[in-house]
Symmetry: C2
Subunit: 231 residues, 2 copies
DNA sequence: CGTGAGGTTGATCGCTTTCAACGGAGGTGG
DNA sequence: CCACCTCCGTTGAAAGCGATCAACCTCACG
């Protein structure tokens, strides 16, 4: 099984299914193709649009004044970005691969959400799902060691492939070591060293720097330090 | 100006105003008084109810199997907890002070949200506001030093008092050093040492261990490392 | 008055960062 | 076609920050 991560949707299926954004005028929607390493919007920009990723991978991040960067999330096809309450975006976004993106004016989306309860419900569903994912990320950032962080990260990517039953999985990392480091609150050197440790332990293979082969999902779980689950 | 943090709502006003949960039958609502250090619900529990904090302070946290704890958020009056997508809670909750809490069945709230667009809109507003707050927390956990974390934390508490114009603020910490440490991804000793450093620097006063006097909000901001804001 | 929880401070340890060197892949221009 | 450069990744050595281990203090409570 080989799948490029950029082509894989979340196991949680997309919110806007076969006929997305229906009842929102086609003239208000716009699908754009953008190259890798393009900026979709930046922190402080007017939050005029909400975006759905149709294809590709996007990193959402915040910067401190001295250049330190924290990646908030990596977004994959089916994900929504830019859904905020106030009128400015609070983070910046960068495509990590060429991407196809649909955008829709936020005002129109919000109005439609009020008029169509099921759309509003889906937006709420998206937001609460996002909240749950962020809680995992908190535990990782605040309480896990470097090795556990990297193992958890790979495990999350492997699971997103839907191959939970599979004992092994192969996928490409669309992001650099620096991107991973800024997501996990580490340095790129530490990420590299942790990957090497996992490789030496026989848990993963790295045929190329960007290609990860998870040799034992259960073994990887041991390194990721399972969450409590009440026991 | 002296205000106990537990009595202060967010600057972002409460979602359910003077007549909250209206059109939801009174028989379905229940207001409870609980003591300090009570459990409202735990990770893995059925997500039967959603709770609004009317009074008091609540900590939401997750545990790793070896006992490491990450506090996801401290919740104050006006905050909503337990709003999840699936049928189980993903985190545990503990009151840090005596609290007054309104609970309502999740199924009824969700149904009402579909029937009343403004209620659905308010729930979505709550969720997106929460998402924005979590993004700040990410930067703090992943990219700030111990001293910056503690300064940012105090600054956030001071600002919640609505006294942004004031140059000083006094408030009580409803949580212990250990709670703060688990929120910031530190140990309680490091939190204590950082508070001492801020006190020695003349930025804050600690007349009692639980009472914080912010002597210079602008000075505290310097320690908190301002976010980029594009400049 | 004894006890335990919460807080502070000191000394030491160790993990992650920092600084640095090196190698390979891809792109560009002579 | 090859020299050169830049970006990305890996690895080594050393430094530093926060964790760990430990002692002591205060205060509330029985």
């Amino acid at each position: 099984m080989y799948v490029h991560a950029a082509q894989v949707a979340r196991t949680q299926p997309v919110y806007f299914d076969a006929n997305p954004w229906n009842e929102i005028p086609q003239t208000q929607q716009q699908i754009r193709l953008v190259g890798a390493h393009s900026n979709i919007f930046s922190e402080g920009d007017d939050a005029e649009f909400v975006y759905e990723i149709l294809d590709g991978v996007v990193a959402c991040y915040r910067l401190l004044s001295d250049g330190r960067r924290q990646v908030i999330s990596f977004c994959f096809p089916g994900d929504l970005i830019g859904l905020v309450q106030d009128d400015q975006h609070r983070y910046s976004t960068e495509t990590l691969s060429p991407a196809r993106i649909r955008r829709i004016p936020r005002s129109i989306l919000m109005r439609a959400a009020c008029e169509r309860p099921d759309l509003g419900r889906k937006l709420l569903q998206f937001a609460t799902t996002e909240l749950a994912a962020m809680q995992e990320h908190f535990v990782m950032l605040g309480r896990k060691s470097a090795l556990e962080k990297v193992a958890s990260f790979l495990l999350a990517l492997a699971r997103r492939h839907g191959g939970e039953t599979a004992l092994s999985a192969t996928f490409d990392l669309p992001m650099t070591r620096a991107d991973i480091a800024d997501y996990l609150g580490l340095t790129l050197e530490t990420v590299s060293r942790s990957l090497t440790k996992l490789r030496m332990a026989g848990v993963i293979g790295l045929p190329q720097p960007q290609t990860v082969v998870v040799l034992g999902l259960d073994h990887l779980e041991d390194f990721a330090e399972r969450e409590d689950e009440q026991f």
